[in-house]
């Protein structure tokens, strides 16, 4: 039982981190048909800049804020420099965002050095506590809590506010929204910034969780996020939450029981979804 809870919490925490990355990706894709292959780079930049600020100030909260600010700034930059010139051309979008990913992860090595950087949880979140005979690691619970909170806030914004209404409508049919006199390009930029900030938040939260950060982690998590987006359905926010948790849990359990298959299981999940339900489990519009 002890083991089961540990694995489940581990999986949930990983799932939440992937969710932070995947939710921005899926909204951007749903809204503007842009698949941002540089999203993982924003994730890694969030982690490195956040840890840098954290080490500098000694406060984890300020570190997290630093990561979010980095995410917002990089989001504007990416949208303005990289996405805008190739708007409407799929192949070019895919090519250029991958190139930007390359530049982002190499720039990380230039700015922060090529070596992995260690990161520790803040004092208040270190250690664990016991509940019955189950040992709960505080930081993992903290990640799950933050993930749930982000989901709740974003869900509220999407469902209850005017901006959310516009975004949801834009995912369904962006020409229609445009024709109603709403500047969908501006909305898109906001979503892009928010998505980047979420990715950066995921990055800084990952740092103390895995204990070490390195430039290649952007690509590793980006692959997981792509799998999640395919499983959850392009453009579906709730879908990416469920799929992320599914992928996180599958990975945690497989890593313990059949370690050699831990990545394969996600691929198999994705292959199954692609065969039987190519639009994804929760898709709002056809993915095909």
């Amino acid at each position: 039982m002890d083991l089961f809870f540990n694995l489940a919490i581990n999986g949930l925490a990983t799932g939440m981190l992937i969710f932070l990355l995947a939710s921005g990706l899926t909204l951007i894709f749903g809204l503007m048909d842009v698949l941002n292959f540089a999203h993982g780079g924003l994730f890694a930049w969030g982690a490195f800049s956040g840890v840098w600020v954290y080490d500098l100030t000694g406060s984890f909260t300020i570190g997290v804020l630093g990561a979010i600010v980095t995410g917002l700034l990089l989001g504007v930059l990416t949208e303005w420099l990289i996405i805008k010139p190739v708007y409407g051309n799929h192949v070019q979008q895919i090519l250029i965002t991958l190139g930007f990913m390359l530049v982002l992860s190499e720039m990380l090595k230039v700015v922060f050095g090529p070596n992995p950087i260690a990161a520790e949880p803040p004092a208040g979140l270190e250690g664990s506590f016991q509940l019955g005979d189950v040992i709960l690691i505080k930081y993992r619970l903290f990640i799950i809590l933050i993930g749930a909170l982000v989901y709740a806030i974003t869900f509220f914004i999407l469902k209850k506010t005017r901006v959310g209404l516009i975004v949801r409508a834009g995912v369904m049919d962006k020409e229609m929204v445009q024709s109603l006199g709403i500047n969908i390009r501006f909305v898109f930029m906001l979503v892009f910034m928010a998505g980047s900030a979420l990715a950066a938040l995921g990055g800084i939260l990952l740092a103390p969780y895995s204990g070490v950060i390195y430039a290649e982690m952007g690509m590793e998590f980006a692959i997981l996020a792509f799998i999640v987006v395919v499983i959850g359905g392009m453009g579906s926010f709730t879908g990416s939450l469920f799929a992320a948790i599914l992928v996180g849990l599958a990975q945690a359990f497989m890593a313990y029981y059949v370690p050699s298959l831990s990545l394969a299981v996600n691929m198999l999940l994705m292959a199954a979804v692609l065969i039987f339900r190519p639009q994804g489990l929760f898709s709002l519009k056809g993915g095909a």
Binding site: I96, E106, F226, N266, L274
Partner: protein, 335 residues
């Protein structure tokens, strides 16, 4: 007119090929010859990439996986058995069969969906192969990789050079023939307008899968040659950088031109070589990939035809003008 032009380009290629064939007999700088061999190998690899991106409009981010499949299949078979020609051929056949199968599966899973899906699936699949190569230590010896014996014939650098060059030439003409065949024309039509081709009555899925398989098989052959030139294999053959190299070569050389990616391979390999040497001068050259990333982004935005594509475009325009001029002059004379 087109026939004449075709002969002209074939003649130019043949002249280049003869010059390259004669090169190792008159010039024996081992480093440079090795580098040129690498250019041939990556030329084949980039050409296979161009077949997908340039001729069919499919973006693959996992092309390294076919390269790696070729590399590992042949090295494992040569390592387990005696390093003879026979096992080398067996290894190459196994490599191409596995690559064909994997590209077929990837193709039928995602090619009926939007272009993003193929890119994502191949990226994820390549990641899977990389992890498998790292974890399946009994087969691949993990991260350390292993040194292998190769057949006597290819231990001589000149022989290897000639083999790679001849493979490149043969494959180039084969692939060019393929793209000029009716099937290749359909692939290009799919690139230009998928819906239209479908509405004419072609099963586009069928053709896209063929493109995917042919490209995968050619890429795995490049992997086989790569291992012969290195005589050492490790997990880096599956790295994303390999895919990125192919992408850079294709984009910078010229998408959809076949000769462009080969020229691109030359540029990237030589630039890589010289920029790494410059890293003693300033540390920024160690991160030469940033430079390439920026050039690549700029190329995608401002220079999407690449070097060869742009040259051909300019040349075509000029010829068109000249053609019109002579026509006008003829008209004047006639009137």
């Amino acid at each position: 007119m087109t026939n004449l032009q075709m002969n002209k380009s074939t003649m130019a290629y043949t002249l280049c090929a003869i010059a390259l064939l004669a090169l190792p007999f008159g010039y024996d700088n081992r480093t440079i010859l090795f580098l040129i061999t690498q250019v041939f190998i990556f030329g084949i690899f980039a050409m296979s990439y161009d077949l997908l991106l340039g001729f069919t409009g499919i973006v693959s981010f996992g092309h390294a996986m076919f390269f790696g499949i070729g590399a590992y299949s042949v090295s494992i078979i040569l390592d387990r058995n005696e390093p003879t020609m026979f096992y080398l051929v067996i290894g190459a056949i196994v490599a191409m069969a596995i690559a064909g199968l994997v590209s077929f599966i990837a193709g039928i899973l995602t090619l009926r969906l939007k272009s993003h899906f193929y890119a994502m699936l191949t990226l994820a699949l390549a990641g899977l192969f990389l992890v498998a190569a790292e974890k399946w230590r009994s087969l691949t010896k993990g991260n350390d990789g292993f040194v292998l014996q190769i057949p006597e014939l290819f231990r001589d650098r000149t022989n290897l050079y000639l083999t790679c060059l001849i493979s490149l030439i043969v494959l180039f003409f084969l692939v060019r023939r393929f793209t000029q065949s009716p099937l290749g024309r359909i692939l290009m039509a799919i690139r230009e307008n998928e819906q239209r081709v479908e509405s004419i009555g072609f099963d586009i899925m069928h053709y896209k899968v063929i493109a995917s398989v042919v490209s995968g098989v050619v890429a795995s052959f490049a992997g086989v040659l790569y291992i012969l030139s290195l005589r050492f294999v490790d997990t880096s053959v599956f790295a994303t950088e390999v895919t990125l190299d192919a992408l850079l070569m294709t984009i910078i050389g010229g998408v959809g031109t076949l000769i462009g990616p080969i020229i691109g391979a030359g540029i990237i390999e030589f630039a890589h070589h010289w920029l790494s040497e410059l890293s003693d001068v300033h540390w920024i050259f160690e991160r030469w990939i940033i430079l390439f990333g920026i050039i690549y982004i700029l190329a995608v935005i401002f220079f999407p035809r690449g070097i060869v594509g742009s040259l051909m475009h300019m040349w075509g325009k000029k010829r068109y003008k000249k053609h019109n001029q002579t026509k006008n002059e003829q008209k004047k004379v006639a009137s």
